[in-house]
């Protein structure tokens, strides 16, 4: 009789567990189903309540549900994780620290979810920082990588303080190719140069340096952005065209700026209401999807092999490295990149900029190089 009762209880326990797991999976599915314009909000709001009541032991299941989720759904999941962790801490419930650590170390998970797991872990186990971060200089999570690079920089600075040049250079050399944030890259490259080292920053970051440029074309009343000038119809680097003030032809230009800046005021002409084009060849050893990251204060358009990748009809409204990012597929062999940069009529000092910077990277910011020098 006892055996029957025990079996019955085990079946009930198993069924309850299975039902709970199914309920959790269903709730995750509902939250992952949210989309733009409020799509799926009603179902997701109800499901979110169930997720927020999940046991702390289920945190890594919730974190794992961020893998492949769209950015809206990832935020729904993230706030549920916040709620579960917050309640657990308040109620003295143990967090699954070992599982969290395994989750952090598994690079196949969503980068941001791993960072979130790491922060939960470290808040309960501060030693995890020293245990995990040093091995993360090449991590796909930019936040984890940043912390790891910061530690290497600290090591270099300590060596500098000890006047151990060799150790400092070695540490900075380790930090530089790993760094993805401009403040760290700037600091490290400056220090290396102070130590007498050469730094090929431009190449390290994947900036395109060799350009063919042509202009100026007309941009009166900002009509040039939509105007289809000859370089958009054909890329014949031997041709001459009617420009704003007469004939224009392609000129070769190689920028030496650390951050790949092509200053059109210097190379073409400093003038208002003008358009210039930059073209570059890019050779890829295989078909691959890459990110084109362009920075400009000006209105810009970018085509790769004739296909539009980025269009921003905005002038002098702030700028920052990697301002606009567009994904494109490079074909195996020769690819043609065309950039259009428009200057408007604004006369303020801060509206002088007429320039662009372009680099090619993978999604983590690792540079992607043209496999043979552009002609």
């Amino acid at each position: 009789m006892k055996v029957i009762r025990l079996t019955y209880l085990l079946v009930l326990w198993f069924l309850a567990g299975a039902s709970h797991a199914a309920d959790l999976a269903e709730s995750i599915e509902a939250v992952r189903g949210v989309g733009p314009h409020g799509q799926g909000h009603v179902e997701a709001a109800a499901a979110w309540g169930r997720l927020a009541r999940a046991d702390a032991a289920e945190l890594t299941t919730l974190l794992g549900a961020m893998d492949g989720a769209n950015p809206l759904a990832a935020n729904w999941m993230r706030t549920a994780v916040d709620a579960v962790a917050e309640r657990a801490v308040r109620q003295g419930e143990a967090l699954p620290l070992e599982e969290l650590e395994r989750f952090v170390l598994d690079r196949s998970h969503a980068a941001r979810a791993r960072r979130l797991a790491y922060e939960m872990l470290v808040s309960h186990d501060p030693e995890a920082e020293q245990r995990l971060i040093p091995g993360m200089v090449d991590d796909p999570s930019l936040e984890l990588r940043r912390d790891a690079v910061a530690k290497v920089i600290e090591e270099a600075q300590a060596a500098q303080k000890d006047e151990d040049r060799q150790r400092a250079v070695a540490a900075y050399r380790r930090a530089l190719p790993a760094a993805r944030d401009q403040d760290q890259i700037r600091l490290v490259s400056e220090q290396l140069r102070k130590l007498g080292e050469e730094v090929e920053l431009q190449r390290l970051m994947g900036f395109i340096a060799q350009w063919k440029l042509i202009g100026p074309f007309d941009n009166t009343d900002q009509r040039g952005f939509d105007a289809e000038y000859p370089p958009e119809r054909e890329l014949d680097f031997g041709a001459t065209y009617d420009g704003k003030h007469g004939k224009v032809e392609w000129i070769e230009h190689t920028t030496t700026d650390d951050y790949g800046k092509v200053d059109l005021n210097e190379v073409i002409v400093e003038e208002k209401e003008v358009v210039a084009y930059g073209a570059a060849e890019f050779h890829s050893d295989r078909e691959q999807t890459v990110e084109f990251r362009i920075t400009s204060y000006n209105a810009v358009r970018l085509w790769v092999n004739g296909r539009p990748v980025i269009e921003r009809n905005v002038y002098h409204s702030g700028s920052q490295l990697d301002q606009y990012v567009g994904e494109a597929v490079l074909q195996k062999g020769r690819n043609l990149i065309l950039v259009k940069v428009c200057q408007n009529a604004q006369t303020q000092d801060w509206a002088r900029h007429w320039s662009f910077q372009l680099r090619v990277c993978d999604e983590v910011g690792n540079p992607v190089y043209s496999d043979k020098p552009a002609k």
């Binding site: 979110w48 709620a83 921003r312 905005v314 702030g318 920052q320």
Partner: protein
């Protein structure tokens, strides 16, 4: 008698405090930067702790102001080298204890000027729900216990809608919608988002051009007649909050950072000096009552109360007669100012970016009665609630209250 007071207390708790006793959105529940609270401290000091009830550390940074909903203070922040970690934090007003903290990842652009923050818009509340808006045009709705009700990524949906200097317009709750205004060079629009479901009730395209002003409430004679004022590069427009339809318009290039103020049926608009307007719904326009160049300001919005208009300029405050714009008095002060001042308890609390709060006693002439130092990095306007003022710097949320206050 005690039982009667207890019953009243319970009833007050059940039905909440009147809207005026809270500070539910940018420039207060009625959107005018005026509070009827009394018993507020006339002076305070961060260093000595004088009248500092508590301070709570905040992550990252923020230009947004705090809001007060019942016994809770809510504030937003943004963090990270890319400013893409967005925080919504809720504190117990009595103790400063953090009640809940939710984080989001920005889905829109976070490229912005380093002086500001992606957490620039002040959140808003209808008393039950909190609407946290960010410069990345992410709009999240939580209940007062931190439960997520919905989340919209408005730039995720409309990728060209962004301003790489940063966006700062605060949301406005009116009728059943949260009104958001995203005025930029690329794909600008304003929208009324259903506060319960997060779905779009209406959406209107706006004129291209960057603006950092916030939608403003223009109260009607009855709540049914309330309108929303939107400033643009070419006009001030008044909209029906249910449909977004334009009810009246006044053509003028509006100030890009100082938000319009409504009081007693008049509208005070910064546009190359201060303009006082009287709307005419039937005619679909507004009449210009007066214009005063000397009342032009920077970022802070004008405060209007009891037929006096107060304009905070870079070097001081100017008080004018709200009926004709005649200047009554001026006072030199230490700027620069980004935050709109608040008027409460017969005083104007003006906080500069350096964290110096200059308390101006109002009367026939204004008089600075106290210089109160908090800390550097204050861009958001303070909130006023029973017996207390709340300031937020980049680093901390401060409650200012005298010990004897309720």
């Amino acid at each position: 008698m005690h039982r009667f007071i207890l019953a009243l207390t319970i009833l007050a708790g059940m039905f909440g405090q009147p809207a005026g006793a809270q500070w539910r959105q940018f420039r207060g529940s009625d959107n005018r930067s005026v509070s009827h609270e009394t018993g507020l401290p006339g002076r305070f000091d961060a260093e000595t702790g004088e009248n500092i009830a508590w301070k709570a550390p905040l992550p990252g940074r923020g230009a947004s102001g705090p809001i007060v909903v019942g016994d809770r203070v809510i504030v937003t922040a943004s963090e990270g080298v890319r400013q893409d970690r967005l925080h919504v934090l809720c504190f117990d007003a009595a103790t400063g204890n953090r009640l809940w903290h939710r984080q989001l990842w920005a889905t829109g652009s976070t490229v912005s000027h380093p002086f500001g923050a992606v957490a620039a818009p002040t959140p808003a509340s209808d008393g039950e729900l909190v609407f946290a808006f960010f410069g990345s045009n992410d709009l999240a709705c939580f209940d007062l216990d931190g439960n997520l009700k919905w989340f919209r990524g408005l730039t995720y949906e409309s990728p060209l809608t962004r301003n790489d200097v940063g966006m700062a317009s605060s949301p406005l709750v009116v009728v059943d919608v949260v009104v958001v205004q995203m005025e930029a060079q690329g794909a600008p629009f304003a929208a009324g988002i259903d506060r319960k479901t997060g779905e779009t009730t209406w959406r209107i395209d706006r004129t291209q051009g960057s603006m950092w002003t916030s939608p403003t409430l223009l109260p009607g004679e009855t709540p049914d007649q309330d309108l929303v004022l939107l400033q643009g590069r070419d006009a001030l427009t008044a909209h029906d909050p249910r449909t977004g339809a334009v009810v009246w318009a006044f053509s003028v290039p509006c100030h890009s950072t100082s938000s319009v103020t409504a009081d007693q049926g008049r509208v005070y608009l910064q546009a190359d000096g201060l303009n006082a307007l009287r709307p005419d719904r039937a005619a679909g326009e507004a009449e210009l009552l007066w214009h005063e160049l000397k009342l032009g300001s920077g970022a802070p919005s004008a405060v209007v109360h009891e037929e006096r208009v107060y304009v905070l300029r870079s070097v001081g405050i100017v008080c004018a007669d709200a009926r004709d714009g005649a200047i009554l008095w001026q006072l030199r002060m230490k700027g620069p100012f980004w935050a709109t001042p608040v008027l409460a308890d017969g005083r104007l609390y003006c906080v500069n970016h350096g964290g110096l709060v200059q308390v101006v006693e109002l009367g026939e002439k204004g008089r600075i009665v106290a210089d109160c130092m908090l800390e550097e990095g204050i861009l958001g306007s303070p909130a006023v609630a029973p017996g207390a003022l709340y300031f937020r710097s980049n680093a901390n949320l401060w409650k200012i209250s005298s010990v004897d206050s309720p």
